[in-house]
Symmetry: C4
Subunit: 237 residues, 4 copies
């Protein structure tokens, strides 16, 4: 995709810019990020594009206009607002997810404290509270150690989450990546990941949690996917 | 109760809508909830109705008008503002409490971190600080494991709290339910539950707390129920 | 002191009301209190009066006008704004301190989390960080278990702090009382108590702190009392 | 440098005052300081001067005008705004760093909770998360125990950080000092120090972290220094 952008695509890009810029504030509100760490992206519906945070810019300074439009190979779409800046240093990982998981509409990355602590020990978070069964349908798994610079982070995310109920993965020694039907859904998963990471950590500080029977986990997950909230037709979660 | 609502009932509904909507902000202020989790309800005085939060709506978007009026069987009162939306997924539990505990005027549910950690281990919080003796008159008990979908959560709350001084119950692997004379009193109980859950957790991280003699717990609870605060006649706590 | 209040006393009362009302916001800012717990009082300079928070009133609703003027025996000074309300349920303890420690101009009480955890184990906080040597000149001691209703709390505070460098005492199973040259100084002591209680707790979670030599503690305390800050003549700390 | 200040120097001083005053708000935002503790300073580019916080002044009351201009020997530059007040009690340590490390443009000092806990045990923070490899290139080291009053704190900072990748040092039993290319860079280092101190602490509460191979640490540090962010030519980090 180069050059000319039709009116409908432009409107979809603009709406995604608004969403992505605004959703970064949720990462701040829930204390998931410090300084310029962390990033949210959203697929532009009906296109092969996604919108992502610029690299190293303060959360106070994020606007719809300085979000960056990228193609699914991770390159910046030239001639669009923000295209003179560098996108998030995690852009390659986001791009890999969008290319290989077509049902994913949003990706979030944080180093939120409790989730990163589980990741640094390389331990999955066990599903011992009902809110976690609702949201993740079981444990939150650990992905491989992989460093920035090639496709190994993206590959690790996709390999771990493919066929898994969880929308969150703890990348070993690194932090969290979450996926969702759109950027908002991925942000919700990031918020819930830190919440359950913290609650289960604190549980285990003074003893072992009581397990939840698998059939109860299944029942909770099934119900939450289908009943909870004010759901318009067509939304998956 | 259907159809026509007299002026006095309407005024009572409107006042309860205001209270319930506003009290949700206290859950946010004290960090007891994330995203759309948690809920507050209040009985409409002089009626067989209660007002509760809509399901899956952001705390930022709660207003008196989008709170939902329900009958004591948990069904939505048609033809009232908000009645086109789904009430909180915990509505059945709230309704069960109002039906079986007529002195209860407010119910709150949260997954607040420290209280939920005690619940995940299935441990009651021991009464080792005087603020807890004041507010709860002893330990905060654990209720059974019960999953959403029938009356088992409501039954578990009522079975645990009946005849108990505590206005709070830790539902195993789930979270907290609190009751009160009105919605504000139940919110206070939810705030104090997390506060004492946290303080006693932190106490025990480095050793065992010194027990408080039972007669001192009794004296503190008695005094606090009868002396503390600026109390109008007729308020129980 | 009854009835007629001269103009100078009135101005001193009004100024103390302003200070005491405003300083409560610092307890909220630093997370030392929840709901209506905690209280600040200040001696009215040049009088046998002090100003204290009303009982059971929300921090949002505190104003200079609803603070309550009390005599040193803990009774409310009739005919002054706020005198139709009950003062803090801890008023007797504050009054005891003002009566027996004439150099004290401010008293604060909180149930702040980490300090109360030390109090619930009945352990003094050891002086292992230089900020604690600066501010408290050594450990923060534990006072006796005493329940509200007579002078035993006030006696326990005074017995523990008399002849001690610390301006803070951990009342066993209860919480913190701090004293200061004025209300602001006592609030500072309450803020620093929680800060060092938290830091030393977290230190000990993963091992033992390195002790600070007594002569270094003495040197730091001496210096901080005499050099730090922008100090007008006559202020003690 | 005394007396007459040329226009260019004056402009540089004014800009540094603005930066230093504003950056103190970041210490508050990230919870690194309480009351009047902590301080930021910045070298005035092209001069032998630096700007630092006044001693014992509330964070609410900091303005560009009340920051204090000092020479590299730590004395106050007379005749400038703020010069009638005392500079931070840590001024001698900042001055020592500026005198002996000419590439340093900013210094920050805090007693932030988790970092100070590591310092109180005298333990370096091991590099077990990728964000720490990015930012610090390895462990955050411990400096000697040294008390205020002579040059021993400054000497300890410089001795520990010379030849070390880390821009942060944990001064034993005391707190954190960070350095940077300018005041903002030093503040970022202080924020990241507390963030990694907390994450690694929480990691170790429930087991041992998985080590990161040295070659991965090296690769991450190298990449972050050279690729991350929107970097104008000439900025070092």
């Amino acid at each position: 995709m180069t050059g000319w952008i039709d009116r409908q695509t432009q409107a979809a890009i603009d709406a995604t810019r608004e969403d992505v810029a605004a959703l970064h504030a949720e990462l701040v509100r829930y204390g998931l990020v410090v300084w310029t760490g962390g990033n949210v992206s959203g697929r532009v519906p009906g296109t092969d594009l996604f919108v992502i945070k610029p690299s190293g810019v303060s959360y106070d300074d994020l606007t719809p206009e300085n979000q960056i439009v990228c193609r699914l190979d991770g390159t910046v779409l030239e001639g669009t607002p923000g295209s003179d800046r560098s996108p998030s240093s995690d852009t390659a990982a986001h791009a890999y997810v969008y290319r290989t998981m077509p049902h994913v509409g949003g990706v979030v990355h944080t180093h939120s404290t409790y989730a990163t602590a589980w990741a640094a020990r390389g331990e999955a978070i066990p599903c011992v509270i009902t809110a976690m069964a609702d949201e993740f349908g079981g444990e939150i798994p650990v992905g491989p150690f992989a460093i920035i610079g090639d496709e190994s982070i993206g590959e690790g995310i996709v390999a771990t989450l493919t066929g898994h109920r969880s929308r969150a993965v703890l990348m070993q020694n690194h932090g969290v990546f979450t996926i969702g039907t759109d950027a908002r859904d991925a942000v919700k998963a990031a918020v819930m990941t830190e919440d359950v990471a913290r609650t289960v950590h604190i549980t285990r500080q003074l003893g072992e949690p009581i397990p939840i029977p698998q059939q109860s986990i299944d029942a909770l997950f099934d119900r939450y996917q289908n009943v909870y909230g004010q759901k318009p037709a067509g939304e998956l979660k």
